[in-house]
């Protein structure tokens, strides 16, 4: 896979007038042996693409659910190589474009070029780095371009319009619109914060727009769907992977409800 698989996905959803669903799951959850099967179940339930979370020791953009998931995955032996192996098998089994999600320190520790090359070798279509703003993204943009995969850049409710234009100008594979103030995790409310951000981003750029953070229910997803090209849900699915005795059917059913809300 390469960046083109994501470009194609967003061209398709725009033509079809729908919104893509991109679930997130931490590599190694619900257990090391069940991870790939979980992604397969999500693909069958209507997922269009995936975010494969490579667990990091200090995930400061993540709330309690993904923190616990990351810690558990690391304790059960998940590594960077293991995360890329999960990604490779997910892409092989589902054919869905998949992004690796990490933090700046692992990327720079391994080296942006080496990291991007390993992600590309595993079949990744792109890379998401939660604490990599525009100002520090240069070496990673160069590395992902060199490896033929996309880099995702973020836009938040606090990002002003002039900055939005600079973000779009770096040609990210999509813009990850941060739908709520704060770290990842489920929220009760349906607010108009994400819609207003989506409108501001749309006014500045035609770059595909995917939103996540704080979206966990079909109602929240449906409300936002007309304004975006894709929606990411993480914590609501990871919570089920952590808590359930029989997580895969539960995750599949939650995925189906979310995917149906978008079509």
């Amino acid at each position: 896979m390469s960046r083109e698989s994501l470009d194609r996905l967003f061209a398709d959803v725009r033509r079809e007038g729908r919104t893509a669903f991109l679930p997130f799951m931490t590599a190694g959850l619900p257990s090391p042996g069940e991870t790939v099967e979980t992604f397969v179940a999500m693909a069958e339930a209507g997922a269009d693409a995936f975010e494969v979370g490579i667990p990091y020791s200090d995930p400061l953009m993540d709330g309690p659910t993904i923190q616990v998931a990351s810690q558990r995955a690391i304790e059960q032996g998940m590594t960077l190589g293991g995360g890329f192996e999960v990604l490779r098998r997910v892409v092989e089994a589902t054919g869905r474009p998949s992004l690796a999600m990490s933090y700046a320190n692992p990327v720079f520790r391994v080296g942006p070029h080496e990291f991007a090359r390993r992600a590309a070798d595993a079949g990744a279509a792109g890379l998401i780095v939660a604490d990599l703003p525009l100002e520090e993204a240069g070496p990673v943009i160069e590395a992902t371009e060199g490896a033929g995969i996309g880099l995702v850049l973020f836009a938040a409710p606090t990002t002003h319009d002039e900055r939005l234009a600079r973000i779009a100008a770096r040609d990210p594979v999509f813009i990850y619109g941060v739908a709520a103030m704060g770290v990842t995790g489920e929220r009760d409310e349906v607010s108009d914060v994400p819609r207003r951000l989506a409108e501001r981003i749309r006014a500045v750029t035609g770059t595909p727009l995917v939103m996540g953070v704080g979206i966990g229910t079909p109602e929240q997803a449906a409300a936002l769907a007309p304004h975006v090209d894709g929606i990411i849900v993480g914590s609501a699915l990871v919570r089920r992977a952590l808590a359930s005795d029989d997580p895969i059917p539960e995750i599949a059913s939650a995925t189906r409800a979310l995917a149906n809300a978008l079509s």
């Binding site: 990091y56 020791s57 200090d58 400061l60 953009m61 709330g63 923190q67 810690q71 690391i74 590594t79 960077l80 933090y103 700046a104 320190n105 692992p106 990327v107 720079f108 520790r109 391994v110 939660a130 604490d131 990599l132 703003p133 525009l134 100002e135 520090e136 850049l153 973020f154 836009a155 938040a156 409710p157 606090t158 990002t159 002003h160 900055r163 941060v178 103030m181 704060g182 770290v183």
Partner: protein, 402 residues
């Protein structure tokens, strides 16, 4: 970039560059949500710091509220015992008992200036938490402090002080429940509340502009020392280094001066060879922690390793980026002291001078004691960054165990 001509290995940097870097270190590795606030903070501070009204309000507070200048005097009994002429900069005598108040007051004034109503902070030993709680009470701001649950246990006195000052202390249970985890949690709070809240980071760490702002508020330590020395030049200036705010506050005004050696003392914990330590410069490698590129403790895949130190304030797997720059350029050198040696430092200063130092500061004392032969007859200025009341119970339990 402003570069001060230096005769030593320098150059000392008066400001980080436009990317927020000291040489290869620093930067802004922060979630996008925070970036506009960091930009605003840098602009606001740059403006405030050349505003005579702001600067004099800060300095007036340092005098009338904090009790500055803190004394600098010769520790005669200790000097005699070690055969080294020891001078102590008494930051332990600043209001609230440590240098942390300098930064907390400065940033509280900045918070008022930015029109924000709420403060958050992280704390390890509790000294920065107490300082922020104090500054919040003074400035009329709501305040919440994140503190690792292990640190809440070992620094109970400071937890009580913060609560008396009207601050909420929130236990952090993630990771090992120490300073690193408290910083993570404060950052997570800030990502949610940044529009109304200012994060007073407690050391010269974090994304730009924090390392620069905190150094500017702490450099009064070194500037006062230079004035108090009345033209005399110490041979060696020593300070303990966790994140490194007391050290950079002392070092920066001296950096690049001929004939002065700057020595930062990191925590060797149980010993560097055991892997249970806090020596980010001495035994770490460059990486990205809490928004800045700096020396840190990490594995080959970039997972952050837990630090260890008997002193909660040095129990941190990273160090301020300006120290990383000083280490690489030779502006300062960095050494380490074990838990056991630090306890010896507490004992030594208490008995010789009648001053019970914080366990953090005791690392600097202990290094001078250990190196006394090599330092014979030289003049050594030690930054006594904090007082030891907070550690009394913990030290009693350690000594009781022996």
């Amino acid at each position: 970039m402003t570069v001060t001509a230096a005769t030593g290995p320098g150059p000392r940097l008066d400001r980080p560059d436009e990317r927020g870097r000291f040489g290869d270190y620093g930067g802004m590795f922060a979630p996008e949500t925070l970036m506009p606030a960091l930009e605003e903070l840098a602009a606001e501070f740059a403006e405030a710091w050349i505003d005579p009204g702001f600067v004099s309000a800060f300095h007036d507070l340092l005098v009338s509220y904090t009790g500055r200048p803190t004394p600098l005097r010769s520790a005669d009994h200790l000097s005699q015992e070690l055969g080294v002429r020891v001078l102590l900069k008494r930051e332990d005598l600043a209001h609230t008992g440590a240098h942390k108040i300098n930064n907390a007051l400065g940033q509280a004034l900045l918070t008022n200036r930015m029109g924000k109503s709420r403060l958050i902070a992280e704390t390890g030993a509790g000294q920065h938490g107490v300082a922020t709680a104090t500054a919040a009470a003074y400035a009329g701001l709501e305040c919440l402090v994140y503190m690792g649950e292990k640190d809440i246990e070992r620094q109970a006195l400071n937890v009580q002080r913060m609560r008396m000052l009207g601050t909420d202390v929130v236990p952090v249970t993630s990771g090992a429940g120490t300073l690193k985890d408290a910083v993570n949690e404060a950052m997570r709070d800030w990502v949610r509340t940044v529009e109304t809240t200012h994060y007073i980071i407690g050391s010269v760490v974090g994304p730009h502009p924090f390392p620069w702002i905190v150094r500017e508020f702490q450099k009064v330590i070194g500037e006062e020392s230079i004035a108090q020395l009345e033209g005399e030049t110490p041979d060696v200036v020593v300070a303990c280094v966790g994140g490194g705010s007391n050290a950079i506050g002392m070092f920066y005004p001296f950096a690049g001066r001929e004939g002065v050696e700057l020595v930062g003392v990191e925590a060797a914990g149980h010993g560097i060879e055991t892997g249970r330590h806090g020596a980010s410069i001495g035994a770490g490698s460059p990486g990205i922690l809490h928004g800045a590129r700096t020396y840190m403790l990490q594995d080959d895949e970039g997972q952050v390793l837990e630090a260890h130190s008997i002193s909660a304030g040095l129990d941190y797997p990273g160090v301020g980026p300006e120290h990383a720059y000083y280490a690489d350029t030779g502006l300062a050198r960095y050494v380490s002291i074990t838990d056991e040696e630090a306890l010896g430092g507490v004992d030594l200063l208490s008995r010789a001078e009648g001053i019970i130092p914080a366990l953090e500061s005791a690392h600097a004392i202990a290094w001078v004691a250990r190196e006394a032969d090599a330092l014979r007859d030289r003049t050594v200025l030690i930054n006594l960054s904090g007082r030891g009341d907070k550690d009394v119970e913990m030290i009693a339990s350690k000594i009781g165990m022996r």
